[in-house]
Subunit: 254 residues, 2 copies
């Protein structure tokens, strides 16, 4: 059985907060004791806030390129400037949306920059936006180490965001950083029940789990920015977002 | 809490089997009593087998077009013929893989035709392949009605498959048919904690659940072609695969 347990009672996270401490306290408040093989899944937003990835749009000066792209996409030029700064390449755009290869390597809309549920230390709340963590694999690793040091339990840690997709409507949770757990699970070499070698070789286990976690974090009106996963069916090991990123030259849809 | 419970003890499904009956028996064998709000998730393979979607490649005569595409992709021309028959359009191809818009409307590799774990009633087992169900929404609906009639519980039913993706490595579980549950959940109009209207408006809840279920069905060497989902966080309602299909003219990645 796979169980996704909501971790409630996490206070609103502010820049500089000790997120590991908040999580440990919330686990206690939820009467959840970490067990070997458990995975903690965190919404990107609380990691980014703790790492102070807030930017005030009034302090952003759009470049020529941002102004041009803003006109084409009917977006705030300052927001476009941040999107371009956070990206390696613009893949597609249309009014309201710029699909980029993020500097972290994945493809997503508007460089994952978030405008909702964001409030800053001064000025107009609508001017504050939130960038993704600088290095989510590293963030996950640091939280994992800290939690292992306190609890003596080596759990996996994953940071997720919601991404749109080619071909299908709606967003799904996907991994943007992970530590102590696999990104991909390779089934090559396994044989099926009739002795054929399996053709579907690699399962994006971290993304499957991210989607499951996202369901439980789901609704906007409930404050569940973290969940505890029990019963993940694959062995935990060192892992990285890198496993999940399809190399550009192997991608038929760039 | 979201729980994904494996339904074990399902016998190997054969053409003509009464799949609803097999599922009801397996639920009993697993001591699982259906509850209101539960969702049954089924691997495509058992639905296709029960519906006798087996084809013997020795009976397939490849067309000119299939022969051409087979040469370009280094695939069995008879398999390519079936892929083309099951598809509306070829989007991309490379050796080993033909990405199509399936006649059911979604984009997937090789029209979802499966060669592993397939055995037919006669001849060389390697000649048998399995097509997707004729109409998975309808298959899900029929199973749902039958199970409701027997148990008096109105559960959701979903049929899933594993699909590759643009941009990211590895396969994830996705919905290919559903009944009595939402495909998309629309969060438009909801406000976040600071009163901003949410920008991420539609969650592909069925696909998130498909990914979760796929994790539990996961390994090839364990026979878990169905799972029971308890604690799905959104209200059940009538639903359809159609909700999840992005119209071609709204898709930047065709």
């Amino acid at each position: 059985m796979l169980s996704i347990l909501p971790i409630r009672e996490i206070p609103l996270v502010k820049p500089g907060d000790d997120l590991s401490r908040l999580l440990l306290d919330a686990l206690t408040a939820n009467r959840l004791a970490l067990q070997k093989g458990d995975i903690l899944v965190l919404a990107q937003k609380i990691v980014s806030k703790a790492e102070n990835r807030l930017v005030n749009l009034s302090e952003v000066a759009p470049s020529e390129r941002a102004l041009e792209m803003a006109a084409k996409t009917e977006k705030d030029p300052r927001m476009v400037e941040l999107i371009l700064q956070e990206s390696r390449e613009v893949l597609r755009f249309r009014p309201g949306t710029i699909i980029v290869e993020h500097r972290l390597g994945f493809v997503c809309a508007n460089a994952g920059i978030d405008h909702s549920n964001v409030d800053g230390p001064y000025g107009n709340p609508e001017d504050w936006v939130l960038l993704l963590p600088e290095n989510p694999d590293q963030s996950a690793g640091a939280i994992r180490e800290r939690i292992a040091a306190v609890t003596q339990v080596s759990a996996g840690v994953m940071i997720i965001d919601s991404h749109g997709r080619a071909w299908r409507n709606g967003t799904v949770g996907v991994a943007i950083g992970l530590a102590g757990m696999p990104g991909l699970v390779d089934l090559r070499g396994h044989e099926d029940m009739f002795g054929f070698r399996l053709k579907i070789t690699q399962v994006a286990a971290a993304d499957e789990l991210a989607a499951a976690a996202s369901l439980v974090m789901g609704q906007a009106d409930e404050r569940v920015p973290a969940v505890l996963v029990r019963g993940f069916p694959y062995a935990l090991r060192e892992g990285s977002l890198q496993e999940l990123l399809r190399p550009k030259d192997m991608d038929l849809f760039r």
